[in-house]
């Protein structure tokens, strides 16, 4: 189905690009296995309605998680992406203000996403901690979304809604857009100078600056990407709810972080691959989807996601590729010395 995200190795990829895909292999295998088992065991799962619904469900999280992953790569974090998604939906649902033109709506949404992302980036550059900065803008974006549309509703221009909900075969348009956008973003982060600067900045900002890399521009563009992808994610969300909702994006702030970490992006920065959010989102969406199909009470979905997060990170740790939260525990000077000692022994 959507395992095209798998860690294939096109010739000519950089060594670090390939290494970044490694943690994704495990998650990909697990999610593909889950798809196969579910497809065999459950007839409802195989149904075209369910497949479409699963892909519709994946698209927003894919987009927002890819943006989040980019920010985490520079050792930042963006809590405001959820509110930005909500804001995008209410703007889309205020189509009449923009002459019901689909193009105008998309342009405004993307512009707002870019402005929001730039605001985050500028705040971080001015020295505000990313957590604090995006916590603040999260509140601001939510407030603006509520001011635009006080309760769920509004009307999305049909010129926008029709293509958004279009399905090719069983593959919805937002899902296709999300995949294409992620592949492009992955390529930019992995195989361009901008991307190299991203990984270097994430590993050590001071070292990056002293190597002459454009650290400030890198940080700014990373938050810009997160804002843009959150806005895109908001449009993908409109395809599911057919309207605007000033609070609908809230869970995505933390879900996007979860997806990035499960994909093997280290929360300490500089490690992992944006492409790895695809299998991670698949795994998370499958969990929801399967628990629903098997009639498990929906609150258990949260428990399941938490367990998956910890088990995956523990797995990365055990496999010796320090990722995610566990990298924090290992990044002290003790760990460095231990590693140095190991180096000399070899």
């Amino acid at each position: 189905m959507s395992a095209r995200s798998g860690p294939r190795r096109p010739a000519g990829l950089g060594a670090t690009t390939r290494a970044g895909l490694k943690p994704a292999i495990f998650v990909t295998l697990v999610s593909v296995l889950a798809v196969v088992v579910a497809a065999i065991a459950s007839a409802p799962f195989r149904s075209s309605t369910n497949v479409e619904s699963l892909l519709f469900q994946m698209a927003p999280l894919l987009l927002v998680a890819a943006g989040q992953a980019t920010v985490i790569l520079i050792a930042g974090i963006d809590l405001s992406v959820g509110s930005m998604m909500s804001l995008a939906t209410v703007l889309a649902a205020s189509g009449s203000a923009f002459g019901n033109s689909a193009v105008a709506v998309v342009a405004v949404v993307l512009l707002v996403g870019a402005i929001g992302g730039l605001a985050n980036g500028l705040g971080v550059l001015s020295g505000v901690n990313p957590l604090v900065m995006t916590l603040a803008t999260m509140a601001v974006f939510r407030g603006v979304a509520l001011l635009v549309l006080g309760q769920p509703g509004g009307s999305v221009p049909s010129g926008l809604l029709t293509p958004l909900t279009n399905v090719y075969g069983h593959v919805p348009l937002p899902f296709v857009v999300a995949l294409v956008a992620i592949v492009l973003l992955w390529f930019a982060t992995a195989e361009t100078r901008w991307g190299r600067s991203l990984y270097a900045t994430g590993a050590d900002e001071r070292h990056a600056a002293s190597a002459g890399l454009p650290v400030r521009r890198t940080i700014l563009t990373a938050y810009l990407v997160a804002g843009l992808f959150a806005a895109l994610g908001g449009l993908a969300l409109v395809a599911r709810i057919y309207s605007g909702d000033p609070l609908v994006g809230d869970p995505f702030a933390l879900d996007s972080i979860t997806a990035a970490l499960i994909g093997g992006i280290a929360v300490t920065g500089g490690r992992g691959s944006v492409l790895a959010v695809v299998p991670a989102v698949l795994l998370l969406s499958l969990t929801d989807n399967l628990l629903n199909l098997f009639g498990v009470f929906s609150y258990w979905q949260y428990v399941a996601k938490g367990v998956i997060l910890i088990v995956t990170l523990w797995g990365y740790h055990a496999a010796g590729s320090p990722s995610g939260l566990l990298a924090m525990a290992r990044s002290g000077w003790r760990a460095r010395d231990a590693r140095a000692a190991r180096g000399t022994k070899a």
Partner: protein, 516 residues
Amino acid sequence: MPTSRSSSPADVARAGAAPAGASPAPLLVCDRLDKRFGATHAVRGVSLALAPGRTLTLMGENGAGKSTLMAMIAGDLRPDGGAVRIDRDARRETAVEVAVVHQELSLFGNLTVAENVCIGREPRRRSGRIDNRALRAQAEASLARVGVELEVDAPVERLSPAERQLVEIVRAVALDPALLILDEPTSSLEPSQVDLLFEATERLKAGGTSVVFVSHRLDEVFRFADEIAVMRGGELVASGPAGDFTRDSLVNAMVGRELEQLYPPRAVARAADERPLLALEGVGGHGVRDVTLAIRPGEIVGVAGLEGHGQHTVAELAAGVLRAQEGRVLVDGEAIRLRSPRDAIAAGIAFVPPDRRGAGLMLPLSIAENLTVAAEHRLHARRVLRRGRERRAIVPVAERLQLRFASLDQRVGELSGGNQQKVLFGRWLLLPHLRVLVLDDPTRGVDVGARAEIYGMLRELTQQGLGVLLVSTDMLELIGLADRIHVMYEGAVRGTVAGHDATQEDIMSIAAGASR
């Protein structure tokens, strides 16, 4: 000061690479550079000039202001006063003005050797995509130019400290800079690797590059230097052609007093059969193996080694920060298990870590709070903080430390490096059952005056029967203080020298793997 551009005859002279007689226009000019960090006057009015194709060796003790001066020359730090001029015209067009090999390596562990060497200069295809094949080829050529053999696709975090240092050097040399700054580039290198560095700098110099070289190792200093400048307390105290200096005059200029004055006289030798306060017997784990040493009352036992050969691990094993996986630890002749620093403190073993800001002190808290943290349970019966009792306990300690402070409530972060270090020591002096102090690089970044006081205090403490395990990267410090120096190589003790008649060369030859 020559502000005018160099004329073409100077270029011709420079092309001959032998600037005999009339010296060509200087490539680097520092004009009365000045820098303060809060209360610390790190660099005071330093002026110097360096001709193209020459090597200046900058000497000075820890905390003399060398790194601050280097950072200003490299443009990483803005001087408070004065100016740095680098005359590009003094040599051919070059890719960059200044390249720096930092003392604290500035590589990216998450990227590969090739990606690090070419960082920011990656060859690209027309699409903007990095050309990975060209990148590897470029990196391989850069490595070959210095004579380093490494797998270019290996992540830097998997390399040994020496290999990382070489990569850092390769990256700087590949930039083909007008000025190459080497800030203690050999702290983890073996002699054969130092030879590679020497040849690489010679080739660069032949092309007109000037080199500023910071080092503590006297043998290297004379080998690399055309000119020598010595800093002390932020000032330039001596400078001139390398031939004008002798080893002794260099050391005296650095220390500012005879070594005997910096290092207090040795205590009367203790009876060798006294029972050790702390003994390691065949201790190993975390990259070191089979470490055997004993610290008797009144002794200072030194551990030396090149960066990354396990000496820090020995300190952490002795202090319970790391758990020994093999061997025995004996305190007063009894085998005990040190599973945590808490166990070690209970046994009277205290640890002063090398990174006092990161691992030792709580900078936002007061002097009093930092001093009492290890002895709190003893000062505060019934778990209620009792300030009066606290003050009565710490005032004598602060006096004994010759601590300079405004008030005991002053934040530790506001103190100078030397005074911070004293607070870290003082914490343990409140423990009445203290037996052994384990010190890991205790005077890094501490000025000479405070160092002399710390050394004097250490000697006083050992005369009262305390034992000290001193791990240091400063060989002169070990020679000046330690009764015995155990030298580490690849995680094992490869030789032991007596402190009073050791030389830097003795220690280096063992630390570099020569059998003994």
